[in-house]
């Protein structure tokens, strides 16, 4: 055991060890998820298990206010959602998936990927996003091949 007042002789390794220690203790300070990777994963064709429906939403700026709008006008936001959808016959399905809002040539658009969705076109959907906001959609036209194209989104449900 070394004496309390004894000064240990420094070795050339000390400086290197101290520097590496300083680097190694740096933990990742950022988020644990990466929307760009998640987006990439979701946009790869997933076979028959998942149905992807693209809904081009006009006037998306009316929709959510706050964070969603801020993010949509500057960059992409990606959030998971859960909720329900109804088909043309009024059958109700529980759905979940990912919504991505982005800006292309000055126009906002949303790509909604619904996992495990039914095969028939959807007529109406109400989706609750991760941050608690509720997105309600009613289609303006229905394309039986790719699913509905939604019109303006209704204000969030109180």
């Amino acid at each position: 055991m070394s004496k309390p007042n004894e000064t240990r002789r420094r070795t050339p390794d000390d400086i290197v060890n101290s520097a590496l220690e300083l680097m190694s203790v740096r933990a990742w300070p950022g988020p644990e998820r990466n929307p760009r990777i998640e987006d990439h994963i979701m946009n790869v064709p997933l076979g028959n298990r998942t149905t992807t429906r693209k809904l081009c939403i006009g006037g998306l700026l009316l929709l959510l206010g706050g964070t969603a709008i801020g993010a949509a006008t500057t960059s992409i936001i990606t959030q998971r959602f859960t909720g329900y959808a109804e088909d043309a016959d009024g059958n109700r399905f529980e759905v979940e998936g990912i919504i991505q809002i982005d800006q292309v040539e000055g126009e906002e658009g949303a790509t909604i990927t619904i996992e495990k969705a039914p095969d028939q076109p959807l007529n109406h959907a109400e989706l609750r996003l991760e941050d608690g906001q509720v997105l309600r959609m009613t289609p303006t036209t229905t394309d039986t091949r790719s699913g509905p194209t939604a019109g303006p989104v209704q204000p969030p449900k109180k």
Partner: protein, 227 residues
């Protein structure tokens, strides 16, 4: 500084020794405790490898299953890149490239005893090399972690030391950075680092010695003080 793997090994011995009340001279008992611990660890390792193999095979057939690989390894990989490049946004960009490339290459991936994390670390290491080359071409000098620098009036002594260390590290040849980062920052053993870098453990060992000398010179040139 001892690598993390070595610290784990010594704690395993002392834990078992105290649980079994082995006297300091009971070497046979200590050896038995250690071998029992290693047997448990290797069984767990085999189970994990099996699980990982199944996950990889599923992800090869169904890209959606890649999400589980991403969730399991994202923070590990982005953390490695962050410690290496010293800048949050750069690390995030490089991690994005790493996972996108991994996803594309997965159908061709063959484990050959290499854990999936080592494969991801290899891709991440290559991305870090590309980033360093791009920066060198642009500026004609080694990349600086400009984003990490705090303004002079707010910088704390630790920030300043960290900045110097990061610059000294980034001034080293890529091969030296690799061994320092994998062994000292990520705690990989020589064999594991060799698997990531596709070279022999002996090569890692000799590179490590040269890399430490190189880092010391760079630190001294920048008048780094460690106290």
């Amino acid at each position: 500084m001892e690598p993390k793997a070595a610290m784990w090994c010594s704690s395993a011995v002392s834990d078992d020794a105290s649980n079994l009340a082995i006297s300091p001279f009971d070497l046979e008992g200590a050896r038995a405790a250690l071998s029992r611990r290693l047997a448990v660890d290797s069984a767990e390792h085999a189970q994990n490898s099996e699980r990982e193999h199944a996950l990889v095979e599923r992800a090869k057939a169904d890209p959606g299953a890649f999400a589980a690989i991403y969730r399991a390894h994202y923070t590990g990989i982005v953390g490695y890149l962050y410690r290496r490049v010293g800048h949050e946004h750069t690390a995030e960009d490089l991690a994005t490239e790493t996972f996108i490339k991994a996803m594309r290459s997965l159908p061709r991936y063959q484990s050959r005893g290499l854990p999936l994390k080592s494969w991801l670390l290899r891709i991440a290491t290559n991305e870090a090399h590309r980033w360093a080359r791009r920066n060198r071409r642009r500026s004609g000098s080694p990349p600086r972690n400009a984003g990490h620098e705090a303004p002079a009036h707010t910088a704390r002594p630790d920030d300043e030391r960290r900045r110097i260390v990061q610059e000294a590290f980034l001034a080293l040849p890529a091969k030296w950075q690799d061994v320092l980062a994998l062994h000292h920052l990520e705690g990989l053993g020589m064999e594991q680092a060799a698997m990531v870098l596709r070279c022999r453990a002996g090569t890692v060992k000799s590179r490590l010695s040269r890399a430490r000398d190189g880092l010391r010179r760079e630190l001294e040139r920048r008048r780094y003080t460690h106290e």
